[in-house]
Symmetry: D2
Subunit: 147 residues, 4 copies
C-alpha cells in the first residue's frame, strides 16, 4: 500500500517569468509530475489504456499556497501525499521543498482532487469507481505526514 | 470605483492536452489575463514601473474548481470580481463562462490572492500598502455578484 | 482565394521569462494562432471533424529569426503569408510586427511547413491530398509580399 | 574541451496537445534544457551573475525538423552538439532520440544560434565576445557527429 511519492525537478528557464521567479501556474504542472510519477511507481500510467474501458482523471479542484519563490536552476522536491480516498475520487496534498539551499525549505503547498472517469456506452465520460487493482495499492497517508 | 472586469479568450490549440481539453494549469494563466486587463482598464499596468519604487504583485493563494471542460476554439469569458480589499493585498473571484454554446455556461470558478510588494532599501521585496492612486479606484464587488 | 491573414496578440505575463522578454518558444505558439485564425477566416477549423475522414496538420519544419525582443503588454501583429502550396503540404511565412511603438517594427520572421494527414483504414495517419474545398480557397502570396 | 551534452527528459502530460503528441513548440524548450545542462556541465550557468558584467544569450535563430511524434511518457534524449563557434556567437545542433522503443530512433533534429550579450554603460544590451574562461572550454564537434 502506497501513500506518498517524491519527484525532483530542476527549475527550467522557460518556467520563469519576467519577475525572475517560477510562474505560479507552473506549480500545478509540477503537481502533475509527482502525480504521474506516483502512478508509474505503482505500475500504472495515468493514461490507462490497458484497461478494458478508456479511463481518465479529470481535476475537479486544485489549489496552491505560495510562501517563497522558486528561481531558475533551483531543485524542487514535490512530495505527494494521498490525503483522501473515496470510491470515485482521490485527493492529494503536495509539499514543495527547495532542496538546494543550506537546508530544505517548504516554499509552497498545494492540493488536487481528481475524479476517475470512464467512457460510457453512449460515448460520454462519467465518474466511475477507481479500478480495484489500482485502489488496492493506495491508502491515505498518516495524519502526521499530512500536517 | 471599479469592482469587476471581463476578458474574452478563444482557446488555443497549444493550451489543450492529450485528453482533448484545456490543461487545468491554463485556467491560472487565464485568471492572470483578466487581472492584467483589469489593471489596464484602470490606467495601470501590473508592472508598475512608473511608480517611484518598483512594485510587484506575487500570488500567495490560487485555486480553481472545474465543472466542465473547455475545448479548442471555445470562447471563454473570464469574469474577475474583487472579493476582498485589504491595505496590502487583494483577492479576486473568477467566473469562467463558455460563451459559444446555446447559452453561456459557467465551466469553472477560481480565486486568487495577491500581495503588493515593493523593493526595500536593502534590495529585498517586502509587503507594502497598495498605492493610494490605485487603491482609490477599486472596491469590493457587491455580494450578489460574488454569489 | 486567400493568401494571408493577420492576427493580433497582446503579450501575456506568463509568456515572458526571467530575461524580461517573450520566451523564444512562444513565437511558435504565436504562429499557430495566426494559422488557426487563417483557417477560421476561410470557414474551416484546423480540427476538421466535419470531414469524412479525421484529418490533421502535423508540422514537419518550423523556424524563426529573432531581431528584437517582445515584452509584456506589447501588441504584436502576426502576419501569415502562404509561401508554398503543394498537393499534400503548405508552407507559411510569418512576419511579427510590434505595433505599440512609434511605428510598427518587424521583430521576428518565421516559417512553418505543415502536411495534411488523414487516418488510414489501418488506423495510422498518412499524408493525403489537401481537401479540394479547402485547397480551392488558398493561393500563394505574391512575391512582393513574401520579400 | 567539450563539444556535446546529452539530456534526458520524460514527456509530461502538460506538454502534449489534443492531437495526443508533444506540441511542436515544446521541442524548443527541450533544446534549452540540453543547452543549460551543457553550461552546467562546464561549471557555468546560462545566467552568468558571477561575471563582472551581466550577460545573456538571446536566440537569433531557431529551427526544427520533425520526423516522428513524441507521446506522453516517452523518454527523449536531447543530444546537443556545438556546430559553430564564433567570437560572439554559438550554434548548436540538436538530435532528439526516442529511447523507450525497441531501438533508439531519431524523431527530430533542430538547431539554435545564440549571441553573447552584455549590458553596456548606457544600460543597453549589446553583442560581446564570449568570456574566455567559457570559450576556452568549448569546441566544435567533429564532422562525423554533426552529420
Amino acid at each position: 500500500m502506497a501513500c506518498e511519492f517524491k519527484a525532483i525537478r530542476r527549475v527550467e528557464f522557460s518556467e520563469t517569468d519576467m519577475a525572475g521567479i517560477v510562474h505560479y501556474s507552473n506549480f500545478f504542472r509540477y503537481m502533475e509530475t509527482a502525480e504521474h510519477g506516483f502512478f508509474r511507481s505503482l505500475g500504472f500510467s495515468v493514461v490507462m489504456e490497458h484497461f478494458e474501458t478508456p479511463m481518465g482523471w479529470p481535476r475537479v479542484h486544485a489549489e496552491c499556497d505560495y510562501r517563497q519563490p522558486l528561481r531558475f536552476e533551483d531543485e524542487v522536491e514535490i512530495h505527494l501525499l494521498v490525503s483522501e480516498k473515496k470510491s470515485k475520487s482521490l485527493s492529494y496534498l503536495f509539499k514543495f521543498r527547495k532542496m538546494n539551499g543550506p537546508t530544505p525549505v517548504e516554499v509552497a503547498r498545494g492540493s488536487l482532487t481528481v475524479v476517475c472517469v470512464t467512457r460510457q456506452a453512449d460515448g460520454k465520460m462519467a465518474a466511475a469507481p477507481i479500478p480495484k487493482v489500482f485502489a488496492d495499492k493506495i491508502e491515505v497517508a498518516p495524519a502526521e505526514l499530512l500536517a
